[in-house]
Amino acid sequence: MDVIANQLFAGLSMASILLMIALGLAIIYGAMGVINLAHGEFVMLGAYVTWALQTHVGIGILPALPIVFIAVALVGLIVEKAVVQKLYHRPLDTILATWGIGIILQQLVRLGIGAESRFVKGPEILSGNTEIGPLIMSNYRIFVIFFSIAVLFVTWRLMTRTEFGMKLRAVIQNRDISECYGIESKRIFSITFAYGAGLAGIAGALITPLFSTIPTMGTGLVVDAFLVVIVGGLGSLVGSAVAAALIGEATALFSIVINDTLGRIAVLAGIILLIRFRPRGLFPTETRR
């Protein structure tokens, strides 16, 4: 029983990280149909910005979050303006172009900072564990779980309760008609992409104490996060949250029953089956294209 409870917590912690990475992807994919394979590298950039701020400026993870968000969002904005914007009418090619950008970012970091792994200290206030009976939970992981829920909430508010969100939803529904109403879809897309990139940056900052920071850290994450988006349903925020929780917990529980690798294989097989029978995900959004 103890093992299961602790694994459930580990799964939830994994899910919260996946959710933050997947949210950015989900918005970008939902809004413009762009599969952003450079997303993992945005996560990596966020982690490195956090590392740089901590070692060179002396700012801890929590106060660094806004700076990281803005820095990575700017990179996202540049990428969107320079490359992605030119490819909106060729959705399959964006997979390739963003993957190329991912290579470039990864290599720039490798050449500029080095390939060896970097360490970032977690915040002092959140060190230590909370114990409930046999269940031992690290405070930092609890914080990350709540933070990801907060990010989900903020994103949901942004999408449904602001003028920007309304314009974005209009563009998702029908780009041409929205433009007739005077919505600059190009600008909306740029901002959306930058916001998604910024979220990836924050995710990267928050995982620095849990993962080792290396230039290739994003590659594995992006595949998982992308599966979350697909399973959740394109562009659906709630779907992404549920899918992140499902995949995180399933991976954690399978790894008790079998072993880690086979657990991951089982989850991948489950995802393949799910895409086959529900290609539009668990929570498909109604769109007209």
């Binding site: 399959l92 470039i104 720039l108 599966l227 086979l262 294989i265």
Partner: protein, 368 residues
């Protein structure tokens, strides 16, 4: 016989002559250089296999490396069994006391050669049936094949006692066929690989220009309309997946012979995406162009990575982004457009409207 078919046949003949006579002469019949080039040729086959499914049919298969790896491992298993008396060494390190049942048939060379083609083909077929019967298309094909690739690589690495795990299969024997040992640094071996590439390309060229290829292109342009014409789109897609997988398996077998080992790295996501790069750089619509792309990119990689040891991947990334943005049809597209311009200049008929080339032939295949 259409003019495009003639054009590709001429290109195929030139290609065959160059790799049969030109390349060995330029390389000074040096065994090491020829071995390196044979490696590029093996990769050319897998790039060309991707062109069949991606460029011709519009199915972006990100799992091509998995079928390539199956071929590669099938050959390596046979050579490993020949190299070891009794149990392969890595099995005894992993406390496997008896040869696993699925290893036993690989004692036979004939079985191995068949398995290297048929196992990838049947796996490709199964995935094809699984996806295309449900009319999965567009991005979802890419995602399912990618997820399959990741799962398959994990499985191979995990089953260390059966597959050699992360180390792959090393310490292989040389293949012997009718008493002739394949020395990967010999001229004879180079010609074997060159012959295989030529035959594979001939199959590819024939397929793309047969009626089968015409239906495939129709599916790429508009799957629904093709279905309304009475063609069973799912079967065509599945069949092209099978063929593409078999060709990839073939390439994998040759690759093992060239490198003399098999490694799970060649079932990885980055290798699979590298195949996509070669295909895109060469030109995804033409199998010859795709094969050419694989050779060019790998030669560049061989030369440039000596000069820029650190920066090579950066250069590759930049080239790739530029190709995707400005040359969506690859080198092939540049050639075709150049030839068209020449022709119009030659005709010099003012007012004669040139039929515009569709520069984005692959974007119509969206999921609806």
């Amino acid at each position: 016989m259409s003019s495009k078919f003639q054009f590709e046949l001429v290109a195929l003949v030139i290609f065959a002559v160059v790799i049969a006579f030109g390349v060995p002469a330029v390389m000074n019949y040096d065994g090491f250089e020829l071995n390196t080039f044979a490696r590029y040729l093996a990769l050319a086959i897998v790039s060309m296999a991707l062109a069949l499914s991606w460029g011709v049919t519009g199915l972006l298969n990100l799992g091509q490396a998995a079928t390539f790896g199956m071929g590669s491992y099938a050959m390596a298993m046979h050579l490993k069994l020949r190299a070891s008396s009794g149990l392969p060494d890595f099995m005894s390190w992993n406390n496997v006391s008896e040869l696993p049942l699925f290893w036993v048939p690989f004692n036979s060379l004939a079985f191995t050669l068949l398995a290297g083609l048929l196992i990838p083909a049947s796996i490709g077929g199964l995935i094809g049936i699984f996806m295309f019967r449900a009319r999965i298309a567009g991005v979802f094909v890419a995602i399912i094949t990618l997820a399959f690739l990741v799962a398959f690589q994990l499985l191979v690495i995990n089953q260390q006692g059966l597959t050699g795990g992360q180390n792959g299969l090393t310490g292989l024997a040389q293949m012997t066929l009718f008493g002739w040992a394949f020395d990967p640094y010999s001229m004879g071996f180079y010609y074997l690989v060159a012959g295989c590439v030529t035959v594979a390309l001939a199959i590819g060229v024939y397929l793309t220009h047969s009626k089968f290829g015409l239906v495939l292109r129709a599916i790429r342009e508009d799957a629904d309309r093709t279905r309304f014409f009475g063609y069973n789109v799912a079967n065509y897609k599945t069949l092209v997946f099978c063929i593409s997988a078999a060709l990839a398996g073939w390439a994998g077998m040759l690759y093992t012979l060239v490198l003399e080992f098999a490694s799970p790295t060649y079932m990885g996501v980055s290798f699979s995406l590298a195949i996509v790069i070669w295909c895109a750089v060469g030109g995804r619509e033409s199998v010859i162009a795709a094969a050419f792309g694989a050779i060019v990119v790998n030669m560049l990689e061989g030369r440039l990575s000596d000069i820029f040891v650190e920066g090579w991947h950066l250069i590759l990334g930049v080239i790739f982004v530029l190709v995707v943005m400005f040359m969506p049809r690859g080198i092939f597209g540049l050639l075709v457009e150049g030839a068209q311009k020449l022709r119009t200049v030659g005709r010099a008929r003012p007012g004669h409207a040139v039929e515009p080339l569709s520069t984005t032939p692959l974007e119509t295949n969206q999921e609806r």
